[in-house]
Symmetry: C2
Subunit: 389 residues, 2 copies
């Protein structure tokens, strides 16, 4: 038989960080002590009330398919959460429980984007967003951004780069890898620019809740026609469960349900029952404690990196990432990451995992480990730099 | 903003059975007693050792992402299962743990099929298979089949219908909705026909293990270049967990891993830990007991339907479905299903959910409920027919 892989699959780049992760694990197997600042997954366990909800559900043994769109109780709880947190009224019908934000994104794009369409995104951004479009025969139009716009698109950039093939805009706030939040007024302007063009607005809000000293607005506060991708992975501490959600405009409820049935049948039932406890007061108290800890880590790492000479012109407001310009030390941030790992056992993510624009000048640090480990990592990076990298 | 749905999404038909299910639930809410023979999910709970494995795992609280391809221990167990059950040697590297067979199918097709490609399938077949291709801008070429080929394609049909756009064949054995198994010699011939054309062979083996008085061969017994889709949902009783697997040829390991990272990050971790207990001797004893029960149900329902005058020319060997010709009673099997539900409270699935070929002459019965309920359903169907439907 043939061994020819599909064109789209050939286009999809590997994550370069996987090479580093593999090498880090090999070094660990040799007994080296590695500090992981490359991993986009916090070191917290799933909150106890969520684990308890899952365990209680499993005692019944009835792990059947849910409705394709998800458990009605969970959809209702998410709708109530939007009312309380954002003062946004949603019908639970608009909310689909998905296998992670990945599933939400595939669902939203499958419902809206035709082959050959282009969606505007910031460069740098989360690379999978672009790859989902390629799966569908569409593509991203990546717009280079820098500190001048806090690494985000603006309404002006949307206007400037819109063309006949562009059908919408996808932005994350807070963003991966930069941690920056789109200010409310700008978000409103961007949505207005997209509306004017009769486009789609896809709002990646998976890091909502993880903001430090500022607020992140939901696109739904400014439009009932936006698609919102969210997840229980990040703020709610449920990475491994693979559960997220998608909010769709009323006009897309029927088609999204049909796509959900076909693409996934439904999301994992134990994860859905577990997530029922995500909005409990006891869980939220725990999560706010974690948010405070992440803020301290952010402050520690940010001050430390600035002191070492990394250029971080805009404060990362959220998520758990710092995107740092390292051109003072290197012209090749991937090699910098490789050498830092080999020399000092600190693993970070090279900029080229997030796009093309100035990618060789940047690395991403994730503060997903303890303050003690972050301090030690800063010492090791200091040594690395002091020796001339 | 726009409310225009994507072309591909508009092409995807709803499941007609959903209308029946919704009506059945409405009738139940009014106090009617409904017998569900429409649902492709057995009434068994998840086996106790699998539940125990999940509960033990949750006690640790560490529900993190696994490697994209899945837990190495689980991949090794599946490889060992192939060696033991099929005498097929696989490297665990070839096995990807997916969010259900749905995830496996999306992964396999994304890695292989280009836009405009056509994949041969039997009509009738499981409708989502065609829809996954449409998501990718490709499509199925549906080949009408009947009892003469046990509702399956043959090497001869593959030869006859292959054209320049056809890039492969996707078959299920046992099949949904017909329950028929492809005999080993024919499967070998089909694979040879595909090989001769340098095509892809996708083998849907999700009902393996659920065969009664015969054996189902794996495509891997005849080719190391086949893609095999399997699942813990059916034989292993794990529907709601959403966990399956995909076996890919060696040449596709790298690209499949890249696609898995991008499309799903990984499969649900609790489901993966749960599935570690799926191959335990204690679990397999329980599952074999269930298989024996399903065989009794098959026999009961088959004999009953034949006695009532349904035409079922080939014995359904596996899965938990009987695809019955009802043209003795109706020229419109969907209306027949609607009327049977309203009159007697028996829910079944209309043929048109599975294709176009003679679909109005067929209905599917699922024996996913107890023998007592099946007997009662047969009595009700008898009354329905006796009154002239």
């Amino acid at each position: 038989m043939t061994t020819k892989i599909a064109d789209r699959a050939a286009q999809i780049q590997p994550f370069y960080v996987m090479q580093l992760l593999k090498r880090a694990q090999a070094l660990e197997a040799l007994g080296r002590n590695i500090i992981h600042l490359e991993i986009g997954e916090p070191d917290f366990t799933t909150p106890a009330p969520i684990l308890a909800a899952a365990s209680d559900f499993l005692k019944l043994g009835e792990v059947k398919y849910t409705q394709a769109a998800g458990l009605p109780e969970l959809r209702a709880k998410i709708a109530a959460f939007y009312a309380q947190r954002y003062q946004v009224r949603l019908s639970p019908e608009q909310i689909f429980i998905t296998p992670g934000a990945s599933g939400a994104l595939l669902l939203a794009l499958s419902a809206t984007v035709n082959a050959e369409d282009r969606i505007l995104m910031a460069d740098p951004c989360y690379p999978c967003n672009r790859h989902f479009l390629q799966i569908l025969g569409a593509d991203a139009k990546l717009i280079p951004v820098d500190a001048g716009t806090r690494y985000q698109l603006t309404a002006e950039l949307v206007d400037q780069h819109w063309d006949a093939n562009v059908k919408g805009v996808l932005l994350a706030s807070p963003a991966n890898p930069t941690g920056t939040v789109i200010p409310s007024a700008e978000l409103q302007n961007i949505i207005a620019a997209v509306s004017k063009r009769a486009g789609f607005y896809f709002s990646d809000e998976i890091y909502h809740g993880l903001v430090y000293g500022t607020e992140a607005s939901s696109a739904l506060q400014f439009s009932d026609s936006a698609f919102v991708i969210n997840s229980f992975s990040k703020y709610f501490g449920m990475t491994g469960w693979r559960i997220g959600w998608l909010v769709v405009p009323e006009a897309f409820v029927t088609v999204t349900e049909r796509l959900m049935q076909n693409l996934f049948i439904a999301s994992s039932t134990p994860a859905q029952y577990a997530a029922l406890a995500a909005f409990e007061p006891e869980t939220l108290i725990e999560l706010e404690g974690r948010r405070a800890e992440l803020q301290q880590r952010r402050d520690l790492l940010l001050q430390g990196l600035l002191a070492l000479g990394f250029d971080i012109p805009c404060q990362p407001d959220g998520a758990f990432y710092i995107y740092a310009n390292c051109q003072k030390f290197t012209q090749d941030s991937f090699q910098f990451a490789v050498d830092l790992l080999e020399a000092e056992g600190v693993a970070i993510t090279p900029g080229k995992d997030f796009g093309r624009h100035a990618a060789n000048q940047y690395v991403r640090f994730a503060y997903t480990t303890t303050q003690a480990r972050i301090s030690e990592a800063l010492d090791r990076i200091h040594n690395f730099i002091a020796r001339g990298c």
